[in-house]
């Protein structure tokens, strides 16, 4: 039997090279594990066992013919259901796309598959990324592998839970306001939100186009680096990707890390934050000082405006981005009415979830004539100030460290009656996206109740190399990321 709990890309490739197991065996055993755990976890909307086994045979052929292993050769992975996967249902977690089978692959999917990765399934998520607990999904509620009474976080809860429960080695996710970092934190895995424009968004269902970023979940920072090597880069199909010098993030992990100046923004360590979280993150900071880094408190005075800027930008864009789900060309179509308007109203009315409707309505209002200047326009001005706030800080400090979430994972159903409270669960992650900067969430402890705690390492634009290096150093001196949930 393959030990999935220790399985990393490096370990898997060693196994392939030494002929300890074939790719077909890996995929078969992965699905055996999924079948055992999935009834409790519910991390997947769609499983792709047949295609995965076919791919595995191709990989085995390549390996047997002596070909060099490609970066993600034979690596089982999953993807949040907002990624379009050619020939495989992609719902975005919403009922309006039930049965939608895209005719094309998202760029990130294409890139990982070109280097041998094998899709095992599509992960449950809040519809189009709208949520912080994966409870808004049209299909099912995903459970936290650490305690199945608790939510896995959201919106990419299925991805985080799958990686946490070792169903697949990595998962592709999407982070508009914390949708990678917060579930990574709740499920105790590593999750990277990249610099806006570093990874192509093409083929990923848009939430807030100016905030959406494509990233990944993995058990270790090292595996995240391998995935980032593959998915980063300018894409001819996404005008918002930028030309950056090519970096080998994996090789850089081994480089000597200089002594860094790290800031702890005090706005993220207030008395509203769970004391166990503050304690764990401060302990992590002091562990880093032992590695020669200096840590001190800093202030980001515009933080209090970030949530408003985030939600106004995001949901205004949502109101337009969701207009294409009109019941005409794809997805759910209700044709019981007599005219075109009833197709719109019935299809959208019946299959958009409450959270989707809420955001469409608020976003439509914010863009309306006479309100645009006060809301959307103002939010963009605030974003400029937020960027400057961070830029100034990064002239003095190399990186910032903060809790990922102000609260510990909560129970399923606990926040469902209070949408505003649910929005504020993301208070520490949504503040990052309006500025476009990267942030890496890694496990840094557990509560007394054995629920995961995570910290985020935040850096200036295109500082992924440094984020990964520091996180890798932290993972080399701690074992939080190696702890695995005991799933009943």
């Amino acid at each position: 039997m393959i030990n999935f709990e220790d399985l990393t890309i490096k370990r898997l490739h060693e196994g392939y090279k030494k002929d300890e197991f074939t790719c077909t065996e890996v995929i078969k055993q992965t699905f055996a594990r999924i079948k055992k755990l999935e009834p409790q976890i519910k991390a997947f909307i769609t499983l792709t066992e047949k295609q995965a086994l076919e791919k595995a045979q191709e990989v085995d052929k390549r390996i047997n013919s002596g070909k060099e292993l490609r970066a993600l050769e034979g690596v089982p992975y999953s993807a949040k259901d907002v990624f379009c996967t050619k020939g495989v249902q992609s719902t975005g977690g919403s009922g309006i796309l039930e049965g939608f089978i895209p005719p094309y692959n998202a760029t990130a999917i294409r890139k990982v598959e070109e280097v041998g990765a094998i899709l095992i399934g599509k992960n449950n998520c809040d519809p189009f990324g709208f949520g912080s607990s994966t409870e808004n999904s049209y299909y099912q509620v995903t459970r936290n592998p650490w305690n199945t009474e608790y939510v896995p976080g959201g919106s990419s809860g299925g991805s985080a839970a799958a990686v946490s429960a070792n169903m697949g080695i990595f998962s592709l996710g999407e982070d508009t306001g914390g949708s990678i970092r917060q579930p990574a934190c709740f499920c105790s895995v590593s999750g990277l939100k990249v610099t806006y424009g570093l990874v192509s968004r093409f083929g990923v269902m848009s939430y807030g186009s100016s905030l959406d970023t494509i990233g990944a979940f993995a058990g270790t920072v090292e595996d995240l680096s391998v995935v980032l090597n593959v998915i980063a880069g300018k894409d001819e199909d996404d005008a918002t990707t930028s030309e950056q010098p090519r970096i080998n993030y994996l090789l850089n992990l081994k480089e000597n890390l200089p002594k860094l100046k790290i800031g702890l923004p005090k706005e993220y360590f207030t008395e509203d934050v769970d004391p166990e979280i503050i304690k764990a993150v401060k302990k992590a900071a002091s562990d880093l000082t032992k590695q020669g880094h200096t840590v001190s408190e800093v202030s980001l005075p515009y933080t209090k405006y970030a949530i408003a800027a985030y939600y106004l930008s995001g949901i205004s864009e949502v109101s337009a981005n969701l207009a294409r789900y009109d019941g005409i060309r794809f997805g759910y179509s209700d044709q019981s009415g007599q005219d075109i308007n009833s197709v719109y109203l019935n299809s959208r009315g019946k299959r958009f979830e409450d959270e989707a409707k809420r955001r469409i309505m608020v976003g439509t209002y914010a863009l309306s004539s006479g309100y645009y200047d006060a809301y959307y326009q103002k939010a963009q001005q605030v974003r400029t100030l937020l960027k400057q706030d961070f830029e100034r800080k990064f002239q003095e400090y190399d990186l910032l460290i903060a809790p990922v979430s102000p609260v510990l994972p909560f129970k399923v159903g606990e926040n469902m009656d209070d949408p505003l409270k649910m929005w504020l669960v993301d208070a520490f992650t949504v503040t990052i996206n309006p500025s476009g900067i990267p942030s890496l969430a890694i496990p840094c402890g557990f509560s007394d109740s054995n629920l995961p705690i995570g910290m985020q390492i935040i850096g200036p634009m295109n500082s992924e190399k440094l984020l990964l290096q520091l996180a890798n150093q932290y993972q080399s001196i701690t074992d939080w990321h190696l702890r695995k949930p005991r799933i009943k």
Partner: protein
Amino acid sequence: MSNYEPVIGLEIHVQLNTKSKMFCRCGTDYRDDLPNTHCCPTCLGLPGALPVPNKKAIQDVILMGLALDCEINKNSYFARKNYFYPDLPKGYQITQYDKPFCHDGKLVVNDKTVGITRIHLEEDTGKSMHITEKGGEEYTLLDFNKSGIPLMELVTEPDFRKAEDVFDFAKKIRQIVRYLDISDGDMEKGNLRVEPNISVRKVGEKGLPKYKVEIKNLNSFTSLKRGVEFEVKRQISILEKGEIPIQETRGWNDDKQSTYTQRIKEEAHDYRYFPEPDIPPIELKESKQAKDNTDEIYLDEIRNKLPELPNIKVGRFVKDFGITEYDAQVLTEEIEIAKWFEESVKSLKDKKHGKKVANWIITEIMGSSQYQLSGVNKLKIQPLQLADLVTNVEDGKISRPSGKEILNILLTEGGDIEEIIQNKGLEQVSDTGALEEVVKKVIVANPKPVADYKVGKKASLQFLIGMVMRETKGKADVKIVNQKLTELLG
């Protein structure tokens, strides 16, 4: 004489002739193909698909702006215009809002200056076909081949007071887009669409009337003119009854030659414009810097592509070639003709024959069926050959009728002028001795005209010249024939 005057402004949409669509790689050459065969995730608005702007289309619109003396916004951006319609796949159109690429230009037509408010770039929608079956069943078919075709929208100030000026302006716009080679500008095919906004006020009144009527589906220049004329009359007759026309959109019915109510505009639609977040703002640079990447758009490169525009070309032709303004207009109507003419003139040894070349092109070439069927670029005769032909005629090597005969051969079969002259024996007979014989023969054979001439009927000379030409199969040098006849008839 009416006490009313129309106030008309135009919205003109021009499909650009780029190879690929505005925001994706799909081809634009869809007209002869089946529905929905030129589509991709982006122009179908599939989940996750993103727009990437077509740089050539942006350059084309700026070129148009420069041609119409516009100000260019160096910092521009695309915006989303939100509304639901089945042929608008994303539920929003990507267009421009408060920062169009071009604004505040002008174009002079019939000695009147028409203000150009703005020129911006957007994407075309798909096409809806509303079907009613024989049994009465109704449904709509959608074709997205047209979805995402680059569309230039030009808006004028309400500066028109006559249908004729609207007609001439629209033709001028067509001429210019063809000069710039940015569109076919064909109204019948819908790649040039003119939508006039018409209202009428009392002569002497200032300011815009409180209502306006937009006319759609004018799919030819004739219907444009007739539509405007009809609508102005209709509105005047309403105003004369003391009423005010309803603000609405009216369609043009070509069969009935009248307009009809299409859509009565309720309160202003809220399109909730906001900057398109999928496309970074477009920043235009003046000129190329060494470190720039290849995506940049440079104004000086576009300026260099700006050809000599028709109005200026006319003036230069008149001045340089001594032709009339009318002839210059005809020769510059299409840039290909103008180019053909200039190329021909360039190869003339004697530049003073330019005027003759112009005449030959206008009367002989442009009048030929070959030209009218397939245009100047497909002609078998080359510009250099026309120059040779004109030179041969003017130098007296061949006669004018022989020249026309040769031109006809060159138009239908092509060939070499010298060979044709040789083969057909068309070399002009200027040998006075040989011609004297023929002239004498003609005098003897035509006693009546000769007598008429002698009593002062000068026109008879023309008849006798004609007879000599017939005898010589058109090869005689007319000047010598004339000279000999007068001499022999005393």
